[in-house]
Symmetry: C2
Subunit: 73 residues, 2 copies
């Protein structure tokens, strides 16, 4: 078993999609930026889904300002 495959005890992780809004991520401790550097994670986080946040990867409600419409899911 590799390190990546190690089984850990953890609260149930989930990702809930908000209509025309962000991903609500729960219980995912390991958030890694595009340089491979861990970002401090919270038990509940809203991650940008519209591509427009000025606080990426987190939601800053820009989806409302740009009228992001998700006609799927």
């Amino acid at each position: 078993m590799t390190h990546a495959e190690k089984t850990v005890s953890h609260k149930k992780p989930s990702i809930e999609i908000i209509k025309n809004g962000p991903y609500i991520v729960k219980n995912v401790d390991n958030l890694i930026n595009s340089q491979g550097v861990p970002i401090p994670a919270q038990p509940v986080m809203a991650l940008c889904r519209c591509g427009g946040s000025n606080n990426k990867p987190f939601c800053d409600s820009t989806h409302n300002a740009i009228n992001f419409e998700d006609d799927k899911t």
Copy 2:
């Protein structure tokens, strides 16, 4: 302890951010759409981060077509 707080044994969940690209989500079984309906999840999934995918919530490489640039994270 509520149902939501139940501790489960699970492979380590993570979200890795791809530069100018999607979220790579690993070991998150619970993916819920904006109607509250679970979406079949895979051990590794690429979720749209640019807002432009035609296969939301999954990445379809539209970030390349629209030259999505993520100057943060």
